[in-house]
């Protein structure tokens, strides 16, 4: 589904991604962990072409895309993204947020978009909020709307960039639950998150990144219980 080969990226002099190779197969849930500055968010943003790598190749569903691709917006439509700070459109209602991509990108009729929107909001448990503006929602509700908004495009893969990091602790669970349901339905996902419970329950693989490299990867049980790399051990010692 996703194939990454030899990805390198610099921010000025800072080498943030170093020779990243990664494969994600269909229905796989990959959880990426690592300290801040390890490059995990940048990697995710490269997969959605919000950042461009300086070298290396990214294949989405077998098709290569890069900064020069003319159809980047179509590629992005197939890759759903959920942001740490939600990035909901404040001038649109909840329903407006969810249907924006449907009517503008997929050119679905307003009526059909509303029907799909209702289904999606039901899926994330927010049917009663459809006419509310994002500002009136809690963080957990906002993130669930953001997930519904991304799902509306019927993406082949969903990327989550620290989806629960900006949430109050008591709101984390509701977002994770929606993500777990999604994983159980067979959605292919790359999740940057330190939520170990989530990783262990639905993750197929945990990838540990440090200083722009993938240092260790493996089954969640193995990574969390029996990490091999010294740096992985040290990092897990800090967060657990």
């Amino acid at each position: 589904m996703i194939k990454i080969r030899g990805l390198n990226k610099w921010f000025g002099k800072l080498h943030v991604l170093k020779d990243i190779d990664m494969d994600v197969v269909q229905k796989e849930v990959v959880v990426v962990i690592g300290a801040s500055g390890s490059g995990k968010s940048t990697l995710l943003r490269c997969v959605n072409f919000l950042e461009f790598a300086h070298s290396g190749n990214i294949y989405i569903d077998g098709v290569e895309a890069n900064a020069k691709s003319k159809n980047l917006h179509q590629v992005r439509a197939d890759v759903g993204m959920v942001f740490q700070h939600f990035n909901l459109f404040p001038h649109r209602t909840v329903m407006g947020n969810v249907t924006e991509g449907l009517t503008q990108v997929k050119q679905v009729s307003q009526k059909e978009a509303l029907e799909q929107g209702e289904d999606l909001l039901e899926k994330v448990g927010l049917s009663d909020k459809s006419d509310v503006y994002p500002a009136m929602l809690s963080g957990g509700q906002k993130q669930r709307v953001a997930i519904a908004r991304a799902l509306a495009m019927n993406p082949k893969i969903m990327l989550f960039d620290e989806p629960t990091s900006a949430l109050d602790p008591e709101l984390v669970g509701e977002v994770l639950q929606v993500m777990k349901n999604l994983a159980n339905e067979g959605m292919t996902m790359i999740v940057v998150s330190h939520e170990m419970g989530f990783a262990r329950e639905v993750g197929d693989r945990v990838v540990y990144m440090d200083e722009g490299r993938i240092v260790e990867e493996g089954h969640p049980d193995q990574i969390y219980s029996n990490p091999q790399n010294e740096r992985t051990k040290a990092f897990l010692g800090q967060i657990l």
Partner: protein
């Protein structure tokens, strides 16, 4: 009782006589603002372009217009260009005021667009929108809302600046006051009448902009 050299009872008496001049002031301001907003939007967007062929003309326009007096600009348009094109005084005043305000409004729009969180654009792009769609559907609506207060301010400045059109013989409020002052020998009284007109018009404009701001507040509870 001290005998003042002024006859303030002249103020209400002559007040209605300025009606036509006030209308001219309003016309210059209104059309000048329209020209200014259109120019400002185009220039503001050009200024944000990464292509130097597009942003350089915008930068130059803003630099020159903001760096020279409106009075000079009006004179160049009306008197200076006379060998090239002869422009009537009203259109000259409207073009002058419009071009002048366009430069300021461009900066207002640019600032408002840049103040919209980067994540908004990223969210729009990640849904598969093109850059144009993201700008039109997501960024500009939010930027417009934020530009309402500074725009209101600029409109009030434009209204007052329209008095400079008196220098190119447009018989708007200020020129009318000076002419009436000379003919009646009641200069202060006439100038005060004009002051009241301006104050009334700016107050109404202020109220109007406040209303619009309130209206736009509906979804404005940012986190």
């Amino acid at each position: 009782m001290i005998d003042l050299p002024w006859d303030f009872t002249a103020i209400p008496r002559f007040f209605p006589g300025f009606y036509a001049a006030a209308l001219l002031t309003l016309q210059i301001t209104f059309f000048g603002i329209i020209v200014g907003v259109v120019l400002g939007l185009v220039t503001g967007l050009m200024r944000l372009s990464k292509n130097p062929l597009i942003n350089t003309p915008a930068r130059a326009y803003i630099w020159i217009i903001r760096g020279t007096p409106l009075l000079l600009q009006l004179m160049i348009i009306y008197y200076g260009l006379i060998d090239l094109v002869s422009i009537e005084r009203m259109p000259a005043a409207i073009i002058g005021l419009g071009v002048h305000n366009g430069a300021y409004i461009a900066e207002i729009f640019r600032g408002a667009i840049q103040s919209v969180d980067r994540g908004q654009r990223e969210a729009a792009l990640s849904l598969g929108m093109t850059h144009t769609q993201a700008m039109r559907r997501i960024i500009l609506p939010q930027a417009f809302k934020r530009s309402v207060p500074p725009l209101g301010n600029q409109f009030i400045i434009a209204l007052k600046d329209s008095s400079l059109a008196s220098a190119i013989a447009v018989r708007e409020l200020l020129l009318r006051a000076r002419q009436m002052g000379s003919s009646t020998l009641m200069m202060l009284e006439m100038l005060m009448i004009v002051g009241v007109y301006y104050l009334m018009m700016t107050s109404i404009l202020n109220l109007l902009m406040g209303r619009i701001e309130k209206r736009l507040e509906v979804s404005d509870y940012q986190d």
